[in-house]
């Protein structure tokens, strides 16, 4: 790699680099913003269809006007992009074919025609035809200032329109029927969103290429969704992801001119998406795993404390020291897990060390009592309200005791009228009170 070119790019010394970067950022951001609404309306595939359907338009515009003027090619792209949408609607309305099939048909049909026209153009040997194929896989560095004015300008329009119509777009994406019920012209907003999609796709034809423009629409939205539950933040994140991958694409295209830009942009945005899928703060796989493990450890600790309390009930010695053997004799624990569980309880000051054994602290007693109480209250609830036989309630209570919140506990106590005994005649421990047989 030629480092001078890299440094040139990073310092934005060359005015043309500045144009290319600016253009790529705007294109990436506008596509990502539009894509968020497609994503939320579960119309991701429509974006794919449009991306493929703009190709015949570009070729037709070139054939008719014999020019590579970006404004004219763009007009062609928008025309056939729009036609493809009408075509999808027409098929679904006039036949029994469902939307997914209609999209598949339209996509391949339009793209097929596009490739056919492209081949025909290349065969004519027209001097200016060279380079038309960059519209398939994209070549960001080939944008000159004139191109950036057209494509970047259009992207700015798309971004502004989304900003201006944020509320109605949000409303029709969440609840269409309600939106029409308050008099929102839902059909017109559908039209607006479709138009925005066509425009957002069309702006990317030179920098990203038609085929892969769909990825720049949908992938940033999908990635952003893993990080936030707020729509505004999702839009902002998606736009950032889109813009970033645009810059990387431009960089690659500038430093390695023979490399097509589109695939690189897709790779960058896909890496972001996979990372989000794994580590996303809201729904990421790893975050969910960690949360699950935390829960497992909490369950384990609560089970240990409950067992301490149970043993105290049996021998009447609340602060008796108890060894690992005594615990494992009464309940199955995986030894390594039991060890870490006990360590954790020592750290939380719920148990204390006594010689080699463990015993309750006062705080630990309260916790042990609480878990036991929840277990027994739930058993009562199941027998009384769900009419389940007393010998069938234990397993369910083993799981639910870890879930019951203080509010639900209060509600249980209220509804069951603070029962003294559980279905198996064990005392339900409340507050300070200890069953008679346990010595303090």
């Amino acid at each position: 790699m030629d480092w001078d070119i890299v440094i040139d790019f990073l310092l934005l010394r060359d005015p043309n680099v500045r144009y290319v970067v600016l253009g790529s950022v705007l294109i990436g951001a506008s596509a990502a913003l539009t894509g968020c609404f497609l994503f939320l309306r579960k119309r991701a595939l429509v974006g794919d269809a449009i991306a493929h359907a703009v190709l015949p338009g570009i070729c037709l515009a070139f054939l008719v006007f014999k020019t590579k003027n970006p404004a004219i090619l763009l007009a062609g792209a928008i025309l056939t992009g729009w036609l493809s949408l009408l075509f999808i609607d027409w098929i679904t309305n006039k036949s029994r074919i469902k939307t997914d099939t209609a999209i598949g048909l339209t996509l391949s049909w339009f793209f097929g025609i596009g490739i056919m026209l492209l081949t025909a153009i290349q065969k004519t040997g027209n001097a200016s035809q060279t380079g038309l194929d960059k519209f398939i896989f994209g070549k960001a560095a080939s944008m000159v200032d004139q191109d950036v004015f057209v494509f970047g300008g259009l992207s700015i329009v798309v971004i502004l329109v989304i900003f201006l119509f944020f509320k109605p777009l949000k409303l029709i994406s969440f609840d269409r029927d309600f939106a029409s019920s308050i008099g929102l012209p839902v059909g017109r907003y559908d039209f607006l969103l479709s138009t925005l999609t066509v425009l957002a796709v069309a702006t990317g034809i030179q920098a990203v290429g038609v085929v892969l423009m769909a990825a720049l629409l949908i992938t940033p939205a999908a990635a952003a969704r893993f990080w936030t539950d707020k729509l505004k933040r999702m839009l902002l994140l998606a736009a950032t992801f889109g813009a970033f991958s645009g810059i990387v694409g431009a960089f690659i295209s500038y430093t390695t001119p023979r490399m097509p830009t589109g695939p690189w942009i897709v790779i960058v945005i896909s890496v972001i998406a996979i990372f989000s899928f794994l580590f996303g703060a809201k729904k990421g796989l790893v975050v969910r795993q960690v949360r699950q493990q935390k829960m497992q450890r909490k369950i384990l600790r609560e089970n240990i404390l409950k067992l301490f309390y149970k043993l105290a009930e049996e021998d009447g010695q609340l602060y008796e020291q108890r060894g690992v053997d005594q615990l494992t004799n009464r309940r199955f624990f995986i030894p390594s897990q039991l060890k870490t569980g006990l360590q954790q309880l020592l750290k939380e000051n719920l148990l204390e060390k006594a010689d080699l054994d463990y015993r309750f602290t006062e705080k630990g007693v309260e916790e042990g009592k609480r878990i036991t109480r929840l277990h027994r209250l739930w058993e009562m609830y199941l027998t009384q309200y769900l009419k389940i036989a007393p010998d069938h309630v234990h397993d369910d209570a083993e799981a639910i005791e870890h879930i019951i919140t203080p509010e639900i506990e209060a509600e249980l106590v209220h509804q069951l009228e603070m029962p003294e005994l559980d279905p198996h005649d064990s005392t339900i421990p409340y507050g300070e009170k200890l069953p008679n047989k346990i010595k303090d």
Partner: protein, 257 residues
């Protein structure tokens, strides 16, 4: 008594298939009305066509003697809970504030007053403490109460609700019914799609009994007769069924014109 809703010879078709057929009834002002009928009998379609969400093939609906477009701001609609994606990235307060969009406009910032009304509406359905909660984290009953709160925030004169009791727990059912009574006591008209015959008699003082066609419409005690319920729920009219099938298969128009 004044008429709040007039439905005249309403026929609605989906893909050639009749969903409602010649529906014709009046609703008096201030009534709490249940729309009852078996699955697929056109209950939701009726409410949607009253709101102008679904285009009728023929016939019309007048609300307060006017076309729905003239009185939209006076009518609040609660869609079926399942009709939206509850995984949508938004919170409870945001959804309830949507109820203010109709009045405050979509291009103005919501005012303090809007926010106060939204909070009061949440309070009425017992959901104020969940105002900042993500909607994905709500139970079915809570989702339904959020929809109720959004409807209350619209401060309408009439409420049309699609299955507000579907999939809710007993506590929610009671609190929703309390909201109903409050609305009725303030003299407003309410039409509620409902699927449970048992509770319908208790909840509503007026019933519209449907099975694609209108079986009966009137005060609950007049409509809830063995004979009429049998007609709605026990076996369909076979000739009408055959006509429906022919229309669907051959593509005849439902109305000449």
């Amino acid at each position: 008594m004044k008429t709040a809703i007039e439905v005249h010879d309403l026929t609605v078709t989906y893909n050639q298939k009749p969903a409602l057929w010649d529906i014709d009834f009046d609703i008096p002002d201030g009534a709490l009305v249940g729309i009852i009928g078996p699955n697929g009998s056109g209950k939701s379609t009726l409410v949607k066509s009253m709101m102008g969400i679904v285009e009728p093939s023929s016939g019309w609906v007048k609300i307060f003697d006017q076309d729905i477009e003239q009185v939209r701001h006076k009518v609040s609609y609660v869609p079926q809970r399942e009709s939206v994606d509850w995984d949508f990235p938004t919170n409870v307060m945001d959804v309830v504030l949507m109820g203010r969009y109709g009045r405050s406009g979509l291009f103005r910032r919501l005012s303090k007053k809007d926010k106060r009304i939204a909070a009061e509406s949440l309070e009425k359905v017992g959901m104020l403490q969940f105002a900042q909660r993500q909607i994905a984290q709500l139970s079915g009953g809570q989702q339904q109460r959020v929809f109720m709160a959004r409807a209350l925030a619209e401060q309408a004169e009439m409420y049309l609700m699609d299955e507000p009791f579907a999939g809710v727990d007993a506590a929610t059912e009671n609190s929703i019914f309390e909201v109903f009574q409050e609305i009725r006591d303030s003299g407003k008209t309410m039409m509620v799609v409902h699927h449970d015959l048992q509770s319908a008699a208790k909840y509503f003082d007026y019933i519209v009994l449907l099975n694609t066609r209108l079986i009966a419409a009137g005060p609950t005690e007049e409509v809830f007769t063995q004979e009429l319920l049998q007609e709605a729920y026990g076996g369909k009219l076979s000739i009408l069924d055959q006509i429906h099938a022919i229309i669907e298969q051959k593509g005849y128009p439902v109305r000449e014109s």
